[in-house]
Symmetry: C2
């Protein structure tokens, strides 16, 4: 695959190589702020039908690239595909987010779980990856993704979203052995799932640790970082994924950037509550950084968006290894014209720095 891959600035930046301008993509770029997404979603009948039909998933994946000069596409899928493939019964209740019919309620429930086989149990995802790659051509590289073991465990134990994930935390503290059993199974499942996505054509991989930041520091190390490090080790030991850039994004976990960089991943996602220059100073040249505009900035005036984008580019400085993004997903209330302003501003302000790169 790598022989056929053009020299995309997105992949170069993740490898901390020099680029002509800072690449940008936007978390949740295929989403509800786009009228064409809402139309396809309507046609699909449900979010799950949209995510599980490769042709429709491909269609919405490509929509933002038709509008904006984005430097990467990301597979359109749900974060809970693995728990669903494990038999927990993913479904959506209007206005309430994802739910699982059969959350884990005992150590026996956990002992029964096995890692799904991606090509059989998650075939619709692999078919979507293959189709998107074919349709994308050389337009942009494709990012595959998974939830982190801890984040998947949170949903699997709680059965739905939560602001505190008290059940999951209580299991981790009261019965760490059982929690580790679950996290070990999930680390295997996540590694196999990402490897299969890379084999199907994904050119970069990302792990979303949405709920790691809810943990106290010791618990973060033990239940969020350690299983992610196991995923990284698997991917970096496998011929299919060894050279595929891997991004870890633990939202709200800026206190742990150093230990996350030490996992051996290629890049770290950074949310907007830390200056990206300060984050860079802490991790040095070990990893690329991915971020970190406050998503709310897209609700401001075009000149404000431009000024804030410029500030982040200047704050990162003249190092290689920056992928511009928001610090969290774009929200449905955003005017798509503002996204165009941001994408163009990032390319415009960063081209001036290109000559001075290390």
């Amino acid at each position: 695959m790598s022989d056929a891959t053009p020299d995309y600035r997105f992949l170069r930046a993740l490898r901390r190589q020099s680029v002509d301008r800072t690449p940008i993509w936007i978390m949740r770029q295929a989403g509800r702020y786009l009228p064409e997404y809402r139309a396809t979603r309507e046609r699909a009948g449900s979010f799950l039908a949209l995510a599980q039909t490769p042709e429709l998933a491909c269609e919405v994946t490509l929509q933002p690239l038709a509008r904006f000069a984005l430097d990467a596409a990301i597979l359109f899928s749900d974060i809970l595909t693995i728990p669903d493939a494990m038999g927990l019964g993913l479904h959506f209740v209007d206005g309430e987010g994802p739910k699982l019919h059969r959350p884990l309620r005992s150590a026996a429930d956990i002992a029964r779980l096995g890692a799904p086989d991606p090509e059989t149990d998650l075939r619709y995802v692999m078919d979507a990856v293959r189709l998107i790659r074919r349709e994308l051509g050389a337009r942009a590289p494709l990012i595959g993704f998974s939830g982190s073991p801890w984040t998947l465990a949170c949903y699997m134990i709680e059965g739905e979203g939560s602001s505190s994930f008290t059940r999951a935390k209580a299991l981790a503290l009261d019965d760490p052995r059982t929690m580790h059993r679950l996290l070990d199974t999930l680390a295997q499942a996540v590694a196999a799932y990402l490897t299969a996505q890379a084999a199907a054509g994904a050119q970069a991989l990302m792990v979303f640790d949405t709920w790691g930041g809810l943990l106290a520091p010791d618990a973060f190390g033990e239940f969020s970082r350690e299983p992610m490090a196991a995923v990284v080790a698997c991917l970096k030991a496998h011929p299919v994924t060894r050279d595929v850039p891997l991004i870890l994004f633990s939202k709200g976990a800026n206190g742990h950037l150093e230990s996350l960089a030490d996992t051996g991943c290629d890049a770290l996602g950074v949310d907007w509550t830390i200056g990206i220059g300060q984050a860079r100073a802490r991790v040095g040249a070990r990893v690329a950084l991915h971020g970190n505009l406050d998503p709310a900035t897209l609700a401001t005036a075009p000149e404000t968006i431009r000024a804030q984008a410029r500030k982040i580019i200047e704050d990162f400085g003249a190092h290689p290894g920056h992928v511009f993004n928001l610090g969290h997903g774009i929200t449905p209330d955003i005017d798509p014209a503002h996204v165009a302003v941001l994408v163009d501003a990032v390319h415009e302000f960063s081209v001036k720095k290109a000559g001075s790169r290390e």
Copy 2:
């Protein structure tokens, strides 16, 4: 008032003086996890009637002190009393939290606002403080509180709670002059409100900056910290509040502990996503620290609660200046018996350290 105040360990700890054991109280200790609270709330007819009737507010304030060996009481009130007194129309919609009938929609709306007079416009709060002090006697000191200017501004602009407060952030970035006008008015209002609470009998004061942690670093400094620093300066310049210990709590803002300590407050609240020993190492002896058990820990087994409490006490170390608390409010699902386990554990494990204090 200070002549009549006994030498409470809670107030001593906030002043970084030696104590016989670590004091503890629990954010939202008068709350829905207590059946007697739910009974009084039922009798009141609504949350607002409960908060606005001094006899009922006093009753629920005292309930947790009748059950547990807590070292402080906190005024039972709502965080949005000031916007309500400014005419924005506070009300509650079942299951949706607080809302304002007339959110701020223009610079003209903001220019019209004036700081309320606490003794006339917020008389029910001052009457509650006086009544609670009388009923408390020497049992424990009473904490008065307010929302921070930024947190109040978020609600006043958005009109309700939000996970992103995009409108408030967009106003701050697009029109900082108008936002500062609002924050200046709110800083005056908060200082006057806290001063009146102290005059009515509150023996410590706390500012809850619930939404400061949602801001990018520069914006945090300008829109959250700076107005809080103005409140601190007012309180430390006023004879009524000069010697009343003042706690600032910016949730999710552990990146800013140093600059918050530099405001001149007496103590900082710390959430559970940083080790309290690390927080202490960063702020040194400048301020006391208040925290920081993960609230989810109260859902674990008694021996786990005890072990986690001990870990925090040992992590803080043998310095003066620790008030034990959760890193956020207690949730309604907690068994009150677990609160007793925590309170007793904190007293038990900290008494051994008392001899070694600085």
